[in-house]
Symmetry: C2
Subunit: 102 residues, 2 copies
Amino acid sequence: MDVVLQRLSGRWTPHILWALANNGPTRFGELRRLMPGRVSAKSMSERLQILEADGLVDRRAEPTTPPEVTYSLTERGQDMDEILRAMHSVAERWEASQGPET
Amino acid sequence: MDVVLQRLSGRWTPHILWALANNGPTRFGELRRLMPGRVSAKSMSERLQILEADGLVDRRAEPTTPPEVTYSLTERGQDMDEILRAMHSVAERWEASQGPET
DNA sequence: CAGAATCCCTTGCGATACTG
DNA sequence: CAGTATCGCAAGGGATTCTG
């Protein structure tokens, strides 16, 4: 379980996986804009590299100018969807039946 | 979703909730021993206070000497079980079909 | 557009020592 | 037993600046 936790660690990691799961292959900038809140390009880039190294995300760069880099979920990355959906489910339930502050 | 993520944050948080879900009310020391790896008493205590403040965990202290403090899941804490089980499920699948390094 | 390079700051956590 | 008090460190991430 620790290994799963570790791969999900990082402020934006779950959001990134969630966005890719729901939007399919997405470009860097767009992915960044899909995040709820401000993410620095640095954090985004770093995290995506880690996710790629972890085998959860696939990176495909078109060698054009300007560059067009698209990220997508690997099979292993899609495994996470089960967890993300559970989170989303809980989140919606909490939001619905009362507005849990903070 | 962010609120759920935030409540699950912390190195030991998911493990704590998971342990409480599977073992029922558990005393401080025992809970600490159930963690996979070394946890300082400080971290454990801090995190439990946060979990209590977040309304996920209930703390019941028997005013004896030596003290006997028991932690358990609140209803809201049990909501997390859905997520934890998903994590556990993925963890087992990964562990079974190959030994994902790291 | 998609980063890489710096700089800096906050947070989380462990180790250790102490207490009612 | 179940904490609290201190100290110190490393990781994560934001802001900013620069580039092919």
